[in-house]
């Protein structure tokens, strides 16, 4: 692995020692292989109107046109027209679209990984309804095959392959769970052979946010549920999904789903993690080619069900809050009302940001950006939007429902030397359970 820069000064990392043309061809093949109808329609439809630019936090906070969402697809657009589009034979015959060069792919690595959080805000701005963020996710499949991925993301990829999680080895999982239970005085269930609910986790919960592990347990114990954590399938954040490593995406997905089926769970609870929701709720079934025999829900949906059905009672906080909508959960997941119902159950008076719900600004760290240290300066710039929104809201609390967003926002505040706590919805619920 080597860190390099292109002629224009864009940073890129390379994995492996294959020849350049081989990389390029691998990228193109991977990109072209699974091309489905919707993606093709979207590749055909751009008006070059530029409306998507002002939707993107990276363009807005840098003013650099290269961060215009549709520009991030340029090499792949060229590949599409040359290899797949309805006029591809004509383009090739007359040499109208040249083959994408390796230099171009190198140049675009930082746009596709550092400069996009897959937040999907651009999709909402596009008058043609082009799902740009989905196309960028597909472009990552090509980049991964080319071995043109930021080293930090590739490192997580390799760790996840070796350990089953990018955060900690599977062997340590049971101990982490037990420790969290002891530390917070909550009885834990680990590796029970049968259970109705199987709980999965995100990397941050195995390192920084371990309290979340016992918070879920506390709530499940409270409702008398049959539940368990499982060493065989605990890691819900799917680094394969983020990096564009499809075999890993499938492997990570099958691990948690197969395990949940094995222990007879009717519900798989995903952690407070946005991308886990995208990978499991909407894409898990693709690997099985059929409907799955269990329910997959996000922590926030689970909490909302418990609160609105009255299965748990919460102490009213009687304070004010604002809420950061995690992109993958809300804009791309449709879970907009659930977090609001939980906040209401907590007796928190919500001040909405000017752009909220499906129009919310991204935290700037999703899609692997927060783990990709190379992108720090860019991410800190994007953070300024969120900071202003929180400052304008002037509330006592600032809550979100995705661990990665929370880390991104906490790091942003720290970098700005801004004293602002970012709270988790799950933690608030667990801390305010009525006895």
């Amino acid at each position: 692995m080597t860190a390099k820069t292109t002629a224009s000064g864009a940073a890129y990392d390379v994995q492996g020692d294959r020849a350049d043309t081989e990389r390029r061809d691998a990228a193109m093949q991977a990109f072209v292989r699974d091309f489905a109808r919707t993606a093709a329609i979207h590749m055909e439809s751009c008006l070059r109107c530029g409306m998507c630019a002002n939707a993107c936090h990276f363009y807005v906070t840098t003013g650099d046109p290269k961060y215009t969402p549709i520009n991030k697809l340029r090499p792949f657009e060229q590949a599409y027209h040359r290899h797949i589009g309805p006029f591809a034979p004509i383009y090739r015959l007359f040499g109208l679209k040249s083959n994408v060069s390796i230099e171009m792919l190198q140049e675009w690595e930082s746009l596709i990984y550092d400069g996009c959080t897959l937040c999907g805000r651009c999709t909402l701005a596009c008058p043609m309804g082009i799902d740009i963020s989905e196309l960028i996710k597909e472009a990552r499949h090509g980049m991964y095959k080319a071995g043109l991925v930021p080293d930090r993301l590739e490192l997580m990829d390799r760790t996840a392959k070796a350990w089953g999680s990018p955060a900690s080895p599977s062997e340590d999982f049971a101990d982490i769970i037990r420790d969290a239970g002891e530390e917070h005085g909550v009885p834990m269930n680990i590796d029970l052979p049968k259970a109705d609910y199987v709980v999965t986790v995100a990397p941050a919960e195995l390192t920084e946010h371990t309290k979340a592990l016992s918070d879920v347990a506390k709530i499940l114990n409270k409702i008398g549920a049959s539940w368990t954590y499982s060493t065989e399938g605990f890691e819900a954040s799917n680094i394969g999904y983020i990096n564009g490593d499809l075999p890993l995406q499938e492997k990570m997905t099958r691990k948690i789903i197969d395990n949940a089926i094995r222990i007879g769970a009717h519900t798989l609870i995903l952690p407070e993690c946005g991308h886990a929701y995208g990978a499991a709720r909407w894409e898990a079934a693709r690997w099985y080619g059929k409907k799955l025999p269990l329910r997959i829900i996000h922590m926030t949906e689970f909490l909302a069900e418990l609160v609105t059905s009255g299965r748990i009672k919460l102490k009213k906080m009687g304070e004010t809050t604002c809420f950061h909508d995690p992109c993958q959960l809300v804009r791309r997941g449709g879970v907009t009302e659930a977090p609001r119902a939980v906040l209401k159950g907590l007796g928190l008076d919500l001040t909405e940001f000017e752009d909220h719900g499906e129009l919310a600004w991204c935290c700037g760290g999703g899609g692997g950006v927060v783990s990709n240290v190379r992108a720090d300066p860019l991410r800190f710039k994007a953070f300024s939007i969120k900071r202003k929104q929180v400052e304008d809201a002037k509330t006592q609390h600032f809550v979100t429902a995705c661990g990665q967003c929370r880390i991104t926002l906490t790091l942003g505040a720290k970098h700005d030397k801004w004293d602002q706590k970012v709270e988790s919805l799950l933690e608030l619920v667990a801390d305010h359970l009525e006895d």
């Binding site: 091309f35 489905a36 109808r37 919707t38 093709a40 329609i41 979207h42 055909e44 439809s45 751009c46 008006l47 070059r48 109107c49 530029g50 409306m51 630019a53 002002n54 939707a55 363009y59 046109p65 290269k66 215009t68 549709i70 520009n71 797949i84 589009g85 309805p86 006029f87 999709t123 909402l124 701005a125 008058p127 043609m128 309804g129 082009i130 799902d131 989905e134 709720r281 909407w282 894409e283 898990a284 079934a285 693709r286 099985y288 080619g289 059929k290 409907k291 799955l292 329910r295 809300v330 804009r331 791309r332 997941g333 449709g334 879970v335 907009t336 752009d355 719900g357 499906e358 129009l359």
Partner: protein, 219 residues
């Protein structure tokens, strides 16, 4: 006179044929690709796919307020030339006469004076769009030859049409022939460039509408 006869006859027929074949080719070319089977359970209360698609087609007619802050010119100007083009194409009496002779249907038109006014406004709006494309750093970066060709081939019929009706420039018959030839060029280019969005917008918005509708997400 010979040029006019050529324009009205073989040129128009040829370009209409290319237009139809090209449009069909391009639509079939994308629609023939395999669909993506979504086996994930839809959000409770999700609309059926056809309804989600139709809703998205209409929803996208008007941008969210927050995107209008910087997209006001693009949006309003876009509306002006799209409506302007529709009015001059379909409500100018000689056009209606032509359509009647081709397809046998007709409808009332607008007075010539109004059409000239709308045509002038449309031309100005198109020039505005071009100026914006040439000056905005974002548009300069993302524009392709396609965008300039499509612009030119839209602008020429408007400009020649205006000149012909206002009797400026060359002889009326010559202007008319040039006008028709510019329309032929427009028709021939249509399926290959971004003018095709006149058909694609339904598919493009609809596809995203289905994806979002399934998830219970708002567009």
């Amino acid at each position: 006179m010979e040029l006019l006869a050529f324009a009205r006859g073989p040129a128009l027929t040829f370009s209409l044929a290319i237009f139809v074949l090209g449009v069909v080719w391009r639509l079939v070319g994308v629609l023939a690709l395999p669909p993506w089977h979504d086996y994930s359970p839809p959000r409770e209360g999700a609309p059926p796919n056809w309804l989600a698609a139709i809703r998205a087609v209409f929803r996208k007619m008007i941008p969210h307020k927050t995107f209008l802050k910087d997209g006001m010119f693009t949006t309003i100007n876009g509306y002006v030339f799209h409506f302007g083009l529709a009015i001059v194409v379909f409500l100018f009496v000689p056009h209606i006469v032509l359509i009647q002779s081709l397809f046998g249907v007709s409808w009332p038109g607008l007075p010539n004076g109004v059409i000239t006014g709308v045509g002038g406004l449309t031309a100005a709006s198109l020039l505005g769009a071009l100026a914006y494309r040439l000056t905005s750093p974002v548009l300069k970066l993302i524009s392709r030859p396609n965008d300039y060709i499509s612009w030119l081939l839209t602008f020429l019929p408007v400009a020649t049409g205006l000149a012909a009706t206002a009797h400026v420039g060359l002889r009326y018959e010559t202007m008319l022939a040039l006008h028709i030839l510019s329309v032929c060029a427009f028709l021939i280019w249509f399926p290959f460039g971004k003018l095709m969005h006149a058909f694609l917008f339904v598919l493009s918005r609809g596809a995203t509408g289905i994806r979002f509708g399934h998830r219970g997400a708002q567009l």
